[in-house]
């Protein structure tokens, strides 16, 4: 009963529709794009630095690689890294935050201390460390680096939410019924903050996409393959900006902004719908 109403409400929200349409477009670009345009993004076959033309809709880069092919595959990898980052960060953050919030006491103190310390160590240091140990930095590794370094604020937020929830009556009831901590956390507490978790996921996906690009720009991105960040990195290294090779550096940036801001728009729109305090009055 309730589900169709929610969908209906969402679909009447114009912001949501625009956001989700844009995001789906980006996802389709990444998923189906490479199938429709099956050009090897890493083949050195083309001529050097050709502006967009019939044969190369988005031109080629310094090494004669097709920019459109790179963009399509890059969108796919960037989305993949984004989702994976979100997954890793939320897994860690939820476990730590929930454990701290439910257990309290010594466990809480210890976990929060770890959280605070992690917050103060910049991800770049960790990234370099991991990078030097692994000969190949796969997409998964990059996602792991980003995930491992971005969970603390989320763990803190989860803990805070749980703490406020804990004081509510139904929890007392569960406790009196003798539920275990784990059961308490998963059955009673987490569902109550599910919407919050969704919003956080959006932020993490965006963090992953932007983070991958950021790491790539300073040379710590994936060592192989194609991603939007790597495209920007090579464009920077080959001075595409100075030399006006706009077809090389504009598309990946636009794609990143499209992916991340569409998600943000969706999340904001959903917040307006679900958060009673944000609902427009009268």
């Amino acid at each position: 009963m309730a589900v169709p109403t929610i969908v209906w409400v969402l679909l009447t929200n114009r912001r949501f529709v625009v956001g989700i349409a844009l995001f789906l477009a980006v996802v389709l670009t990444g998923v189906i794009g490479p199938l429709l345009y099956p050009v090897d993004p890493l083949s050195f076959a083309g001529p050097m630095e050709t502006p967009p033309c019939e044969k190369y809709p988005l031109g080629t880069d310094t090494y004669g690689r097709d920019v459109l092919a790179q963009l399509l595959v890059g969108t796919r990898t960037s989305l993949y890294v984004g989702f994976l980052t979100a997954l890793i960060a939320m897994a860690i953050g939820t476990v730590i935050g929930a454990a701290a919030g439910v257990k309290g006491g010594l466990v809480d103190e210890a976990l929060m201390a770890i959280t605070n310390v992690t917050l103060s160590i910049p991800s770049i240091l960790l990234a370099i460390l991991i990078a030097s140990y692994l000969k190949v930095r796969s997409l998964e590794v990059v996602a792991a680096i980003l995930g491992i370094t971005s969970w603390p604020w989320y763990a803190r937020a989860i803990r805070a939410q749980l703490l406020s929830l804990r004081e509510r009556e139904f929890i007392y009831l569960s406790r009196m019924a003798g539920y275990s901590d784990l059961r308490l956390a998963f059955e009673d507490l987490l569902p109550n903050i599910a919407t919050y978790i969704f919003m956080a996921m959006v932020l993490f996906i965006n963090g992953g996409i932007l983070g991958e690009a950021g790491l790539s720009i300073i040379g710590l991105g994936p060592t192989q393959g194609v991603s939007l960040g790597l495209m920007l990195q090579w464009a920077t290294l080959m001075e595409a900006f100075r030399r006006g090779l706009w077809w090389w550096f504009v598309p990946p940036g636009v794609m990143i902004v499209a992916a991340t801001s569409s998600l943000m728009i969706v999340s904001t729109a959903m917040d307006e719908v679900f958060n009673p305090r944000l609902r427009e009055r009268g």
């Binding site: 630095e49 103190e109 210890a110 201390a113 030097s132 190949v136 920077t236 100075r242």
Partner: protein, 712 residues
């Protein structure tokens, strides 16, 4: 609540103001601006904050070794000539003793004359500090001392009687002012290497420029208008020389493109696109840059697979097959913007006429199969070599195996991350090697990690460099790549152990007769073609470009009046000579008259003349054999000149005797060095476990402390 909040706004604004003021405060040193048209702006020689202007320090700011402190002779690598700077001339007193006469005009910037005692003292200080001008020369030089105010005498150490190292030590020597260094050394001792020498008022220099001012972002030098060399060389044209410290190539090149910089030593993608804006390079067509030093593909003889191949006797075949599989042309075109030329299989930089004579092309053709002595990419040939050597794919997985079944799998090819041209080359090499059935992956770690891997021989394949070309080329390249007595990164990166070559290397260095030297070179080249210990890829570009917006008359292919021309070239191949021949835009540039060979009325001395002069004095004994430790026989011949000399002779005789002992010692010590380096590394490695444990313990302790405190 809100009234309290109100107070914070002015507070934050106040804080912001204070901070803003603190930004402005370092700007209070008021000085006049530097006129653009009098200044040559340089890019690409300094990438970090300025450090010292001290030749005894392991780090120096650009300029120190370039034109603040200048050598006795400056070397031009393209024409193979020496320009006497502080020195006026040299004289072979005997085949083992060289005298250098310092110009009577030569003065430090504080007016005190530059003397032989400065040279002697500098060298002695280097010996004590273990670093400075002439570092390491003690293995090749018996002594460098002052005979009188203006006469320096140097004697070659025998053995090894290495004329190449001896000459580069003596001729390229850079003296520091004794009257400044001596009191400092007395005060600071070993800490002399931390002396910054960064006060322009106190700098005492021998070159035509000194520091004007510096910040973290910029270094500015100003010409000394009363420089001692004015009467001989004239003055360099720019009044100021400035280097802006950019953070990366793109930002530096943007400035260069805009004409904010005049003299570039950076890698510039598609440099020809800048030609309409007044930019020029050495060649106006491909390859644009002069090749400088050979870049090699080093295959580690100690890595598992190559070691096995060596044991099975198929190492050379494997390396040759790889050499034929490398896509040289594509690599240079696509990854290098066409800036390079494929290197000769003989390792010789035969693009310079001065060195071309050392290649035996007929011999090369016999082994390599091409008249230009290059490996031509030929995958079929590569496969054929592998098949013949029994390196075939037995299990049908597309990867070949060595005769004993070891698969050629999981090999890595590695260069530092961010070296874009080399990274792309690695990708191309790896993809071609896959085509001939060798599974190679690229590996791009951080520079500091890559370097550690090279030092410790923990790699399969790397692209690496060799020694820069000098008057001793190709000997220096042969020594760097092949001499088993060296260890990485000083040389012999691939760990090729051929003691016959080390003997040849010694013989070449002590041979005066060019014909005989050629004979030895031929022998080495034959070893190279047979074993191919390292694969020469291409000549690395000498990054030099100029912008004619403010300054004209730069040397280039059509007007090659001086080389090296890249601003980062320091002693003894200094590029600051370029500054004497350029001119402001609108004025007519004139190449100085003294930049002519000595027999045409100029000052330039060809290296061949130095050898001829040496041959003249050593006529009686012809070519002394280097292998037998020199007997006192040769030395008494020196006693012709001064009467006081006999004393020195007896001394040298004594020393030569002890020397032979010392040499065996140095050999032994190099061995221990080789050993000690890996051990320190082993130590760091074993540390990791401990480190992790310590880290965890400390973490727990930290948390515990935090917890305990909070509980209270």
């Amino acid at each position: 609540m809100s009234s309290r909040l109100k107070k914070f706004v002015p507070v934050t604004i106040g804080v912001a103001l204070v901070i803003l003021l603190s930004v402005v405060s370092p700007l209070l040193y008021a000085q006049a601006a530097i006129p653009r048209e009098d200044t040559v702006y340089v890019i690409g020689c300094q990438w970090g904050p300025p450090t010292t202007w001290n030749m005894f320090s392991p780090t120096q700011t650009w300029g120190t070794n370039h034109f603040l402190y200048i050598p006795l002779f400056v070397y031009d690598g393209m024409h193979d000539v020496w320009l006497p700077m502080i020195a006026e001339r040299y004289e072979w007193v005997s085949p083992e003793v060289l005298r250098v006469y310092i110009r009577p005009e030569a003065r430090w910037s504080d007016g005190k004359p530059i003397t032989a005692y400065d040279v002697e003292y500098t060298y002695e200080t280097t010996k004590k500090l273990k670093y400075g001008p002439g570092v390491g020369c003690w293995d090749y030089v018996e002594y460098i001392k002052a005979v009188s105010d203006k006469v320096v005498e140097a004697k070659i150490r025998v053995p090894p009687k290495n004329y190449f190292s001896f000459l580069s030590c003596v001729l390229g020597f850079v003296p520091m002012p004794k009257h400044v260094i001596e009191p400092l050394y007395k005060k600071l001792g070993d800490k002399l290497k931390e002396w910054k020498n960064d006060d322009p008022a106190k700098q005492v220099v021998s070159g035509p420029y000194k520091l004007h001012h510096y910040t973290e972002n910029e270094i500015v030098y100003v010409r000394l208008d009363d420089w001692w060399g004015k009467s001989i060389f004239g003055l360099p044209k720019p009044k100021y020389l400035a280097h802006v410290i950019y953070k990366d190539n793109p930002s530096a090149n943007t400035a260069f493109e805009k004409g904010d910089a005049d003299w570039a030593g950076t890698f510039i993608p598609s440099v020809w696109q800048l030609f309409p804006k007044g930019v020029g390079t050495w060649y106006s067509k491909k390859p644009y840059y002069v090749g400088w030093g050979v870049n090699f593909l080093y295959l580690n003889f100690n890595s598992t697979v190559f070691k096995k191949a060596e044991e099975l006797g198929v190492g050379a075949a494997l390396r040759k097959a790889i050499a034929y599989a490398i896509p040289y042309k594509d690599m240079l075109e696509k990854a290098y913007f066409g800036y390079g030329v494929q290197a000769s299989a003989s390792f010789v930089a035969d693009i310079f006429p001065a060195y071309k004579k050392w290649v035996d092309y007929d011999l090369c053709a016999k082994y390599v199969g091409s008249s230009d002595c290059r490996f031509h990419t030929d995958l079929e040939m590569a496969k054929k070599i592998l098949d013949e050597a029994g390196i075939v794919d037995r299990d049908g997985d597309g990867v070949r195996e060595l005769p004993d079944g070891t698969p050629l799998k999981g090999l890595t090819i590695s260069v530092p991350y961010g070296w874009t041209d080399w990274m792309m080359m690695c990708e191309m090499i790896a993809s071609n090697l896959k085509k001939i059935g060798i599974d190679v992956r690229t590996y791009f770690p951080d520079y500091s990690v890559w370097w550690n891997n090279v030092i410790n021989g923990k790699y399969d394949m790397v692209i690496g460099w060799d020694a820069n070309p000098g008057f001793d080329h190709p000997w220096n390249t042969y020594r760097f790549v092949l001499d088993p007595r060296l260890s990485p990164p000083a040389g012999n990166w691939e760990n090729y152990k051929n003691w016959k070559i080390s003997k040849l290397i010694d013989e070449i260095a002590s041979t005066i007769d060019p014909a005989k030297r050629m004979e030895f070179y031929r022998e080495i080249q034959e070893f190279i073609y047979k074993d191919l210990p390292a694969i020469p890829l291409f000549y690395g570009a000498h990054w030099y470009a100029y912008n004619t917006k403010y300054w004209v008359g730069w040397p280039n292919e059509k007007n090659p009046w001086w080389f090296p021309a890249a601003p980062w070239s320091g002693s003894p191949g200094n590029s600051f000579i370029v500054l004497f021949g350029i001119a402001k835009k609108g004025e007519k540039p004139k190449v100085p008259d003294w930049l002519k060979p000595i027999d045409e009325g100029g000052l330039l001395i060809p290296t061949s003349k130095i050898w001829e002069d040496l041959a003249k004095v050593s006529k009686p004994t012809a070519t002394p054999s280097p292998t037998t430790p020199t007997t006192p026989k040769t030395t008494p011949k020196v006693t012709v000149t001064a009467p006081g000399r006999t004393v020195t002779v007896t001394k040298t005789v004594e020393r030569t005797v002890t020397k032979s002992v010392e040499v065996t010692k140095t050999v032994a010590s190099t061995v221990t060095v080789e050993k000690t380096v890996p051990t320190t590394v082993v130590r760091t490695e074993t540390n990791w476990g401990v480190v992790a444990a310590v880290a965890i313990v400390l973490l727990i302790v930290g948390i515990a402390i935090g917890y305990a405190i909070k509980r209270r």
